[in-house]
Amino acid sequence: MGSGSSVNVNYKYSLQKSENAFKAAVLIQRWYRRYVARLEMRRRCTWRIFQSIEYACEQDQIKLHNFFSYLMDNFTPSSSKERDFISRMFISGESFKEAELEKYCDYESLEVPDSYTGPHLSFPLLPDHATALLEAFKQKQQLHARYVLNLLHETRKHLKQLPNISHVSTCYSEEVTVCGDLHGQLDDLFLIFYKNGLPSPSKSYVFNGDFVDRGKQSLEILIILFTFLLIYPKEVHLNRGNHEDHMVNLRYGFTKEVMQKYKLHGKKILKMIQNVFCWLPLATLIDQKVLVIHGGVSNTTDLDMLEKIQRNKFISVLRAKKRKELNRNVEIKEINGESQAEPDSAGNETMSSLPSQPRPAQAPSMANRVEFSRWVRQTVQEQIEWCRKLVDISDSEEEELTCSSLVSLTDLDGPCWTRQEEWKQILDILWSDPMPQEGCRENTVRGGGCYFGPDVTGKILEKYNLQFLIRSHECKQDGYEFCHNRKVLTIFSASNYYEIGSNRGAYVKLGPDLVPHFVQYQANKTAHTLTMTQRISRVEESAFRALREKLFAHTSALISAFKVYDKDNTGRITLSNWATAVESVLRLGLPWRMLRPQLVRSTADGMLEYKSWLDDLAMEQRSQEHIQSSLLEVIYRNRSNLETIFRIIDRDHSGLISFEEFHQTWKLFSSHMNIELTDDGINDLVRSIDFNKDGNIDFNEFLEAFRLVKQSQ
């Protein structure tokens, strides 16, 4: 440092210094911005991974459709046991007639013991009951089955008198709060009530569906929502979501949750809920200007039709699979689970009073497969008929309405819609997603509803003189998102949906000006204490675990795809070809080149030794070393479907199926999937489970054993 003897030197020196300061600052800033950008890229990639895996899972629903179709069309059972087994799959989920329901799900005979320390409900409900329930659930207490059933009965009674489309007005309670998907995340509901206040005569709420599944406290959420619904019927409005569907619940955890919490009465509770779901309104209209539906709209959405149809006839999305070569009436009947005396294919009248189980006619020779198939179908159909009749002992008003099932009875002179058209209306409302491109096309990812473009939105808004749509159904990073030029608002209220730190939840408030105000939140203390880096890393870890499991599940297909690029069988491929091959197998639309450093650790000269890479993936499946790896692959790939099928078979929801049934399931599934599966293979599987229940298998245990991604809750 100079002593500053001459002004010139000082000047030069300070110039130099500020230049250097500038350079140094720029260096640090450059580096830091680069670092943040990489984080941003990682965050978005992680998001894409979660979304693509989630939607790929929903595709499993389609696979299940196909599986059932396959059964109907191709499978020829070799024994009466097998036939019984299959027919059980089709009649499972039969809904009760109203009178039967009351009798079966009776609660009055249930005694509440003195030892019960949970909340007591009495009807009509009062605000105190609601606060007692909230407090009880905060303390992790459980509501007695009697009260649950009672609540469900009252809820059903109330919902039945509601129209398909609820109307809300902001002039009565100044503001309306709309909440999106909650998916069993009770902490989020608590947070919403804490921030926004409980429902009251001056605080209206609309809950836009998907209250259950995935999260572990779906039942508590239902109880709370139904309670408030009954206490404040004018202020609380519930829309049905695609997860308010008992078949979907089999796959996504709600059924399991109820059975675990209510071992004795769970089945009754589930039956009631199944019915209550069908009575949930389909949409809400705010000030006649804002339409709130769970999924979206399509180019055929008709609010007039939606208002008039009998919404409770739409029981489940999974059950309306068209079957070829069947009589139209039978098809319609199957769709709606109704029962009528129908001539069977042979043209004979079936008996109307309690029939005995029909003996199957002599099976035609196996040589003629078409004949045989037809015989199978007929026999299965007969079995279904018989079972249905057993259930349908008494007449109820339902039957009256359904005998002219093709005509909407409220409006005999009006339009006459087919059941299929009505069914599509509801399906579209519950399952559709908006897309940026114009037009309207089938939503093949979810297997139901459609993708609708801004033009479709525009037409609907114009036709019904609306300002905008509010919907949910899709997880959004910030809890909400506009699209279609701010004409469609997605609101999603389950924070940390994929993983702690993955996304915020949000709710929206509308005043008479209908200008939306948002409140965002994240219901996990840990998320707040983490730095951005830590949050992103954590979510990323979770995403990559799931992705690696998916890769493992497709080992065989991947090897085949890699070999295409490795004609000389060197065992190595370029990283570029790796990316192309992986996408061709998994079809997740992910940026594989960006993700590669996280998935492929070691390369030599830009080449990957794919066999050892796949072996490393397999090594992560530590617990099941003794199971043949190709079988493991199959299980992982189809776990979701297998679980659903198990639950369908397990009609009394005990969590147990017999070894025989377990065996059957595997055989059916493997023949459908064209997999070689010997009896030894199945036995190996069984041996891997600790089954100690007299020849019964606890399939929850079985599935748990193959679950790699641990639930962090």
Binding site: N20, K23, A25, Q29, W31, R34, Y35, V36, M532
Partner: protein
């Protein structure tokens, strides 16, 4: 680390695929456009360390004549491919970064003449928000949230740098 041997076309094709992938991560509407504000993230996540000024230069080349706020892939791709092939905006080695942090105290006659390894919060904020290509408030806050040691109210930059320098494989073609 040759990706596809010495075939130049292969190298270019691979670079283009990478750029397209990175671009599409930010393409929300699925129509091969991104918000112009995301270009910085895309360029940087492809391994480049441009200054803000350099970024603006690049943007000028890829923006539409009439700025719409969007950038199209078809304009971005050739420009970015050249950037990667020319190896513009090269990464900053860790030791150069270290020097930059050490630089301040020396000239400011402030705390760290002995190169003790830390710089106070105030100093850091002052220089990051007033010098060079200043940080926004948000950027400053975020940096402090992970860099600042709350007990000493100072940034121990050696630790910070080594934590943050991600072990990336440089998979640009050699």
């Amino acid at each position: 680390m040759a990706e596809e041997g010495s075939n130049e076309d292969g190298v270019v094709a691979e670079i283009e695929k990478k750029i397209t992938e990175a671009f599409k991560v930010f393409d929300h509407e699925g129509n091969e456009t991104v918000d112009v504000r995301e270009i910085g993230s895309i360029v940087r996540s492809l391994g480049c360390f441009p200054t803000e000024a350099e970024l603006h230069e690049l943007l000028a080349k890829v923006e539409e004549e009439e700025p719409t706020g969007y950038v199209h892939l078809e304009k971005f791709l050739p420009v970015m491919t050249k950037v990667l092939l020319d190896r513009s905006y090269r990464p900053i080695p860790e030791d150069v970064l270290l020097h930059a942090f050490e630089f301040y105290p020396f000239y400011l006659k402030a705390l760290d003449e002995n190169k003790s390894g830390y710089i106070t919060k105030e100093e850091l904020v002052k220089h990051m928000t007033e010098e060079g290509e200043p940080f926004t408030e948000e950027e400053m806050e975020e940096m402090l949230s992970s860099a600042l040691d709350p007990e000493t109210n100072a940034v121990h930059y050696r630790n910070y740098i080594s934590l943050m320098v991600v072990d990336e494989t440089d998979d640009l073609p050699q």
